[in-house]
């Protein structure tokens, strides 16, 4: 593990389990990663693999029937270290972190904004609780934020309700809301899945600018490999509650080693590689979360499977930055 000063948040062996339907769902089962200041960490993986749960866990936004079982979430605030997992769920300290130090954007801007309040009101709320600005200053700042996010006529738009915003504009408003207090970390959970392709690009550009201008650390959850290639500094690949491979964008995208990462990359067309790409969907489907394989979670769908895969592989380092959770990585890496 690198111990540099640039780490904004580090997650260590995090486990979050769900207890709905009288069962125990090990949604996140031992995840470790670091988010660096001014860098983008992309988390990729098929749906249901625990990406959103990881994000919610960091913000302690989990539903009642779930809890953090083990592990640490250390938030490096200035020179302090705060163990987020030890804070009370909706307690005062946690609330102070949310929205001001760590902010989050959600997948569907259509449902993420409260329909009965104006957009301005919802952005101002954030400022009201985390700053000492006066009412007037808050309003000015809200308008400025909307303007920064590229919303036309912000003075007018600020008093409109979310339903008169288009999807892309709502997501911009969400980002304005998240960025209101200049958070150290921005968590974006599939921020563009619900939007048109052209708008997606604009939103990502916006986020990339924010990262550069404010040195914000971004954790971007996505399953769009194109986006990963474009934006990521670091990449973590998740599968069934584990990170199976992580490293810099170069490590993961150019030298994918875990069979799952390879399969994932093979399953999506890459822009610019022309028409006759060899696209192979990943064979099989994700297992029932209540009936997970013992050992390596990917084993049942893996071409490289051996008996040793019945034991969960440890994390190994391929290089200083490139980590992997696979027994056979040495063979695959050479291959």
């Amino acid at each position: 593990m690198r111990h540099n000063k640039n780490i904004a948040l580090s997650v260590k062996d995090l486990k979050t389990y769900f207890y709905t339907n009288n069962r125990c769902n090990k949604a996140v089962n031992g995840v470790s990663f670091d988010i660096e200041k001014g860098k983008t960490l992309c988390v990729v993986g098929e749906s249901g693999c625990g990406k959103s749960v990881t994000a919610s866990t960091i913000m302690q936004l989990l539903p009642t029937l779930s809890r953090i079982e083990e592990g640490e979430i250390i938030f490096h605030k200035d020179n302090e270290k705060i163990n987020i997992e030890k804070l009370e769920r909706n307690g005062k300290e946690m609330r102070e972190i949310r929205g001001s130090d760590i902010a989050m954007i959600f997948q569907d801007p259509m449902t993420a904004l409260n329909p009965v309040y104006t957009v301005g009101f919802q952005i101002a709320e954030n400022l009201k609780y985390h700053t000492t600005l006066s009412k007037k200053e808050i309003r000015e700042k809200t308008i400025r934020l909307l303007d920064d996010m590229g919303i036309p006529l912000p003075e007018q738009r600020v008093d409109e309700y979310p339903h008169s915003y288009s999807g892309g504009m709502r997501q911009r408003a969400m980002i304005a809301m998240a960025m209101a207090c200049n958070p150290k970390i921005l968590i974006a959970d599939e921020p563009t899945t619900a939007l048109d392709v052209t708008i997606q690009a604009q939103i990502f550009e916006l986020m990339d600018n924010l990262k550069k201008n404010y040195n914000t650390a971004i954790m971007l959850i996505t399953h769009d490999m194109g986006v990963v290639a474009e934006l990521a500094d670091n990449v973590a690949v998740m599968y069934m509650g584990n990170i199976v491979e992580s490293g810099t964008a170069d490590d993961v995208l150019r030298r994918p080693t875990h069979p799952y990462t390879k399969a994932l990359l093979d399953s999506v067309p890459v822009l610019g590689r022309g028409r006759d790409q060899d696209i192979k969907p990943i064979k099989g489907s994700t297992p029932d979360p209540y009936d997970r394989p013992i050992g390596c979670q990917f084993a049942p769908r893996c071409n490289w499977r051996t008996e040793s895969c019945d034991i969960m592989p440890e994390i190994s380092n391929i290089s200083e930055t490139h980590e992997i959770r696979c027994h056979k990585y040495k063979e695959i890496f050479q291959y």
Partner: protein, 304 residues
């Protein structure tokens, strides 16, 4: 950190899960969900007990519910007369049992009939539309602009008091809701792919409508049946209590309660009215528990 009861529950579940004790059961999900709802099961048990008790009334009591016995008037509860006797010496317990037969029959019967009629028209109307639907919709609108009890009273005043009339009146006031519910369900089902697939196979309207779509509309209807059963039983009781329901010579739950309009009875002879009031409340409560259980188990949006 201190452990809350939720934490303990989680620990237990986690332990069981890790030892593979929790395997998903293959039983019918609806039934198992219903059975998991303790209140619903309790409701079902009470419901069955009361129904069985009224059916087997002759075995449970030897008294005739309408034979007056002037030698034993207004006796308080005793081993002979469990709920005492009323103003004319009739055994209240046997009246509650036999009265239950009529009240439950009227409540359950009319709501089932109303459901049958509502479903038949609603399914067809919702699926096919056309003039049948338009007319039925208008008529149901008319019925539904009245508060239920006012409509019932109005119809009672027109048709006069009798058991059959009340039964018919309940059906008349009840079918509209069922019709609208099943119609709405059908309208949304109509758009589903399997229905369109069936249509493209050239299967007859009648078969698609009543054989393939109807079963999918039943869940909410069942809930509604329980609700209107509860409501009809309460309405019957209310009407008869006012002396406007079933003629007083027929024992029904409401008619038994009618004595409580007399302030002397109310104050001095609690056994003549309190037990039957409690029985009505408990029975209706049981029906509502069942309805709630059905709602939870048929509603796919609810989890946990």
């Amino acid at each position: 950190m201190k452990k809350t009861s939720l934490d303990k529950k989680f620990d237990k579940l986690r332990f069981l899960e890790e030892n593979n004790k929790l395997v998903s059961k293959d039983q019918n999900r609806l039934i198992s969900k219903f059975l998991n709802n303790k209140l619903a099961v309790l409701g079902l048990i009470i419901f069955s007990i009361i129904i069985l008790a009224t059916i087997f009334a002759p075995l449970l009591t030897s008294y005739d519910p309408i034979r007056t016995d002037l030698r034993s008037m207004r006796q308080s509860p005793s081993l002979d007369h469990w709920f005492g006797t009323d103003n004319t010496g009739r055994d209240v317990f046997s009246r509650v049992l036999y009265g239950g037969r009529v009240s439950i029959f009227v409540g359950l019967g009319s709501s089932l009939m109303a459901a049958l009629i509502g479903l038949a028209i609603g399914c067809y109307g919702g699926y096919k539309g056309g003039w049948v639907d338009v007319i039925a919709l208008r008529i149901s609108e008319i019925f539904m602009s009245f508060p239920q009890i006012i409509l019932v009273l109005l119809l009672v005043s027109i048709t006069g008091q009798s058991l059959t009339n009340l039964f018919v009146i309940f059906i008349l006031t009840g079918w509209g809701g069922m019709y609208r519910l099943s119609r709405a369900r059908m309208l949304s089902l109509r758009e589903e792919e399997y229905v369109q697939a069936l249509e493209s196979f050239g299967i007859s309207t009648f078969t698609i409508c009543y054989k393939h779509m109807l079963p999918n509309a039943l869940g909410p209807i069942m809930v509604m049946i329980t609700l209107s059963t509860a409501m009809f039983i309460l309405t019957e009781a209310g009407l008869s209590f006012l002396g406007l329901g079933v003629p007083l010579n027929v024992p029904t739950w409401g008619n038994i309660l009618n004595v409580a309009t007399d302030i002397v009875v109310l104050q001095n002879y609690w056994w003549m009215w309190a037990p039957v009031g409690i029985v009505i409340s408990v029975f209706v409560l049981a029906v509502n528990f069942i309805g709630d259980g059905l709602r939870d188990s048929t509603d796919p949006s609810q989890q946990g």
